[in-house]
């Protein structure tokens, strides 16, 4: 078997997990070693696969397909993996964040290390599987399996209110996915296949109202995961209670599973319904931006603040995706990566200061920049990336999203712009309270600056932030083929819809016609 295969990529972490599980529970060093090595290897393989990816083509690449089992009724379910323009950035992000998260665990995971490492590795398998599956049943399997590790990570290593948070998180997401499951079953029996590529080709021809139902079922699952505005309440709890590494995974990758699903299924599979529902979804995105920003401003807990900013930032992603213009889609995709990097890094930084001071209340800090200059530098970079400073990654994504939105809905774009301003307000305010001002509290005066490990783990993120800010095309080029294809599909659906509307108008009986037919 070729080493650069998606199967190796997905199941390498699982093998690592089994190895870790086989070690004696006292051998903590060995467990960390194996995990780091596995994560690193996975990261290298993942990134090499993504480099090997031809962005000009819309077709899935590195495809692996084997029959898995046959459902009653003769419907074959395949083990089918593939990389395409919609998933390539997500895979790269997941592969990259793996070793970084692993490195961060040295600081805060001291109990039940073995279990943690196992769950971390299983998580990696689950997330990569979600992004790489090209079979609906396989996708669903990975989708739900990836819930379980986070459930344990939250529940065992979380904060004081962790049980509430973890059960809430699990039930919320499972509820959405189960509704999606019904839609999956329906699709499967309607078309006799579970192949996502085939389904994407045929499902677009379904009548509009049927598409709308299916869209709703899928969108519910993904919106809860993102989370969109009315479903966001689990996120703040989960983030606040999660250990640093859990938060980073959650913000960095897990939430992207929702937006990725919106893109791959809701938009690509049901274009007519997506066009129909776009105003609603965009509105929810815009509301999320502003609402998340207001929530963030009111927080006194720095971690909760970043969690709320997540809601705001993911609003941009949804807004961009559902603008469904060339710029919007690109911006949405890019913003998914941006958010993973900047919010992930913010959570890492918060984790680092929490490990030193064991509090996250903003008023317990102030003036830290003078004792921790390196920390302050990284923190400011992360914040600036998050608020969208030109030259860093956040700017490109937000700009493209706003551009795309303006083409479709200028008013929503205007609302979203205010989000940029609010974002700057709360993040810069938080930075000021945390880093600058007088150094009053005695406990803060003895803080030690970042260790080498902590610097090393953040360096790749910073490099990427600058790279994406300066030369975003390196990344966008890989998505080009798929996005062009998607845009064409959407245009076709729009054309069909317009034609239908025209026909409806022509054939709609006028009042005079109706009266006439009654008289007859």
């Amino acid at each position: 078997m070729n080493f650069l295969s998606l199967t190796v990529l997905i199941f390498l972490p699982l093998v690592g997990a089994l190895l870790v599980a086989a070690t004696p529970s006292k051998a903590v060093g060995l467990q960390r070693g194996i995990t780091l090595l596995t994560m690193f290897a996975t990261g290298v393989i993942g990134i090499m696969l993504c480099l090997d990816f031809n962005g000009a083509s819309a077709a899935a690449q590195h495809v692996e397909q084997r029959p898995w089992f046959t459902l009653p009724g003769g419907i074959p379910v395949a083990y089918k993996l593939g990389l395409d323009g919609l998933s390539v950035l997500m895979v790269a992000l997941t592969a990259l964040l793996g070793p970084i998260v692993m490195l961060s665990t040295w600081g805060h995971i001291h109990e039940r290390v073995k279990e943690f490492m196992v769950w971390l590795l299983v998580m990696q398998t689950g997330m990569l599987g979600v992004f790489l599956s090209l079979d609906l049943v396989l996708f669903y399997t990975f989708w739900e399996v990836s819930l379980v590790p986070l459930y344990f990570i939250l529940g065992i290593w979380g904060g004081s209110n962790r049980l509430y948070a973890t059960i809430k998180f699990f039930l919320y997401t499972v509820f959405g996915s189960l509704v999606m499951l019904i839609a999956v079953i329906w699709l499967m029996y309607r078309f006799g296949t579970t192949d996502i590529v085939q389904l994407t080709n045929v499902a677009a021809n379904l009548p509009g109202d049927v598409q709308l139902w299916l869209f709703a079922a899928f969108a519910l699952a993904f919106s809860i995961k993102v989370p969109l505005m009315p479903f966001h309440t689990w996120l703040a709890d989960a983030h606040t209670e999660a250990p640093t590494s859990g938060s980073v995974i959650l913000a960095g990758v897990l939430l992207k599973m929702g937006t990725y699903g919106l893109l791959r299924f809701c938009i690509a599979m049901f274009p007519a319904a997506a066009i129909e529902a776009a105003p609603l979804m965009m509105a929810l995105g815009a509301i999320g931006i502003v609402y998340g920003a207001f929530l963030a401003m009111a927080q006194t807990d720095i971690k909760r603040l970043v969690a709320c900013s997540s809601v705001s930032h993911l609003g941009y992603v949804v807004l961009g995706l559902f603008a469904m213009t060339a710029a919007g889609l690109r911006g949405g995709l890019l913003q998914m990566v941006n958010h993973g990097l900047s919010t992930g890094m913010l959570f890492l930084l918060i984790g680092m200061i929490y490990e030193r001071r064991h509090t996250r209340a903003l008023d317990q800090y102030g003036g830290i920049a003078s004792v921790m200059p390196v920390y302050a530098l990284f923190f400011v970079i992360a914040v600036l990336s998050s608020v969208g400073l030109p030259g860093l990654n956040g700017f490109v994504g937000e700009y493209l999203v706003l551009l795309g939105t303006y083409e479709r809905a200028p008013i929503l774009a205007a609302i979203a712009v205010t989000g940029v301003i609010f974002g700057a307000v709360y993040l810069l305010m938080a930075t000021r309270k945390l880093l600058f001002g007088p150094l009053v509290l005695q406990a803060n005066k003895t803080l030690t600056d970042l260790r080498a490990r902590e610097v090393v783990l953040m360096l790749p993120i910073v490099v990427l932030m600058v790279w994406m800010g300066v030369a975003p095309n390196t990344f966008l080029a890989r998505t080009e083929g798929s996005l062009v294809d998607l845009t064409q599909r959407l245009d076709r659906a729009r054309a069909v819809r317009t034609a239908e509307l025209i026909r409806e108008n022509e054939t709609r009986p006028t009042v005079a016609d109706a009266e006439e037919s009654q008289n007859r």
């Binding site: 898995w68 009724g73 399997t141 529940g155 059960i167 699990f170 509820f175 019904i182």
Partner: protein
């Protein structure tokens, strides 16, 4: 007059004469009845072991060997052409072969977990094994029967030993209570069943499914009869409103017996419920069955939410699972048809036997080690002391909750696809929402296992029992195998 009677029977004998001997000793009959014969022979041997001094030492060997031989016989019927024997009252095909394997597995699991469980009653273990094997023979008969009377024989062969087994711990009040409760209600259900089949006979003139003329099915007698039969079967599989006995009996009965009842009985009753529903229930019953299924799921899930005793919790969860399965029964009146329903139910039960068998089995082990009832509190912190046991129990909970990569998920998937295919979309959606409720209490168990510290005064045992651990591991492997590589099983069903 007597001469006249002889005359009459001679004429039927004339018809049968042509091949009675050949029929009875034909390979077909032997193949069809093989598992049942093997079990019956095993029962006799077990009785003999109790009589002849010294033979008692061989008891466990006899038990295992009998299950093995019966399994081998059942294996031979899988993939073989369908064999209808005894004037179409009994059938052997791939499905019944798998059902038989499943009953044998359920029996074996419960039996293995029951080793070293009984203390005061250890002198009676011979009887315990004997009764268990009789019940298993009853299940085999139930699954193969396509005739109301043959089924009844199987039902009683299953039930009577179970009444006794429920009350097996004579010194424990709860056990005796469970036995009595189960007996009284079971006898009532049996009577209901008999009355129902009498009505069906009155309406159709036959008890054999194949001989029923579809034109006769709409009559009031048949509908009333089918309803009564359904009620008594619902009692056995614990469907609302006949589920009240379940928590009490499951909690009171000795834990190995509970394991056996929860898995085997339910499987056997469903194995017959599918063909019986296909033969007797009219199309109009579809929505009624669907509604009963939903109510059962709701009652089971909401009932389980408030339980603290693990056996009771699993009992209510079993009620909910019966509701899910009833969805398949409702759906078989629609487009997918009885064969698809049978496959889905079989797969679901296969996953359930190993999942619930493993879960109840671990409860059995913990109960016998600590000598106390196993509650949510008493398993707190188990993961720290006994990671293997906790992991297995957590896996079983996830499978019961229908999380992918486990057999439980695929079973649920199949049943819900049946519902979707037979236009029960709304029902499927409500059912899905109810299964979210179910996850809430399965998660509570996992929370206790992994995320809460050990309770004071309720220490968890520090040593695992090698045998129980091994069986739990085997069950876990099966649960994962059914979820991850189900092709071998699904393909053999087609």
């Amino acid at each position: 007059m007597i001469a006249a009677m002889i005359q009459a029977s001679t004429t039927t004998a004339d018809i049968m004469k042509a091949g009675l001997m050949e029929e009875i000793f034909s390979e077909r009959t032997l193949q069809a009845t093989g598992p049942f014969m093997a079990l019956s022979f095993g029962i006799l041997l077990l009785v003999l072991a109790e009589i002849v001094p010294g033979l008692q030492l061989l008891r466990k060997l006899i038990f295992i060997a009998t299950l093995g031989v019966a399994g081998w016989c059942a294996w031979k019927t899988i993939g073989a052409p369908e064999a209808w024997v005894f004037e179409d009252t009994y059938v052997a095909n791939s499905t019944t072969g798998w059902w038989t394997m499943l009953f044998l597995a359920a029996t074996f699991i419960a039996w293995l977990f029951g080793q070293r469980y009984y203390k005061a009653e250890s002198a009676l273990e011979g009887e315990h094994d004997l009764l268990m094997m009789s019940a298993c023979a009853g299940m085999v008969l139930m699954a193969g029967s396509r005739d109301l009377l043959v089924f009844f024989v199987g039902l009683e062969l299953l039930s009577v030993p179970l009444y006794t087994l429920s009350a097996f711990q004579r010194s424990r009040r709860e056990s005796v209570e469970a036995g009595l409760k189960y007996f009284v209600l079971g006898a009532f259900a049996a009577a209901t069943y008999l009355f129902g089949s009498a009505l069906v006979y009155a309406g159709t003139g036959t008890l054999t499914f194949k001989a029923i003329n579809p034109a006769d099915l709409g009559g009031p007698l048949v509908i009333a009869g089918a309803a009564l039969i359904a009620a008594s079967l619902f009692f056995k599989v614990s469907v609302f409103p006949f589920h009240m006995w379940v928590p009490d009996v499951y909690q009171g009965a000795p834990a190995p017996v509970t394991t056996f009842m929860a898995t085997g009985t339910k499987a056997a009753a469903f194995a017959f419920l599918v063909p019986a529903a296909a033969a007797l229930l009219p199309y109009e019953s579809k929505h009624l069955a669907a509604v009963i299924a939903l109510v059962t799921m709701a009652v089971g899930n909401f009932g389980a939410l408030v339980q603290t005793d693990l056996k009771r919790l699993l009992a209510y969860s079993g009620v909910a699972h019966a509701g899910t399965l009833l969805l398949a029964i409702a759906a078989l009146q629609g487009e997918p048809g009885p064969d698809a329903a049978m496959r889905a139910v079989l797969f679901y039960m296969a996953a359930y036997v190993f999942t619930a068998g493993g879960a109840f089995g671990l409860v059995t082990m913990l109960e016998s080690q600590t000598g106390r009832a196993v509650t949510i509190d008493s398993i707190k912190g188990l993961a720290a002391k006994r990671p293997g046991i906790a992991a297995a129990l957590a896996l079983f909970m996830l499978s019961l909750g229908g999380i992918p990569a486990t057999g439980g998920f695929l079973g649920k998937y199949l049943v819900f696809s049946l519902a979707v295919r037979s236009d029960l979309l709304v029902v499927a959606l409500i059912g899905i929402v109810l299964s979210v409720v179910a996850l809430a209490y399965y998660l509570r168990v996992i929370v206790a296992l992994y995320m809460q510290p050990e309770m004071d005064g309720k220490p968890v045992p520090t040593q695992a029992r090698a045998l129980s651990g091994l069986v739990a591991f085997a069950c876990a492997v099966m649960v994962l195998a059914l979820g991850l590589v189900p092709a071998w099983f699904l393909d053999s069903l087609r």
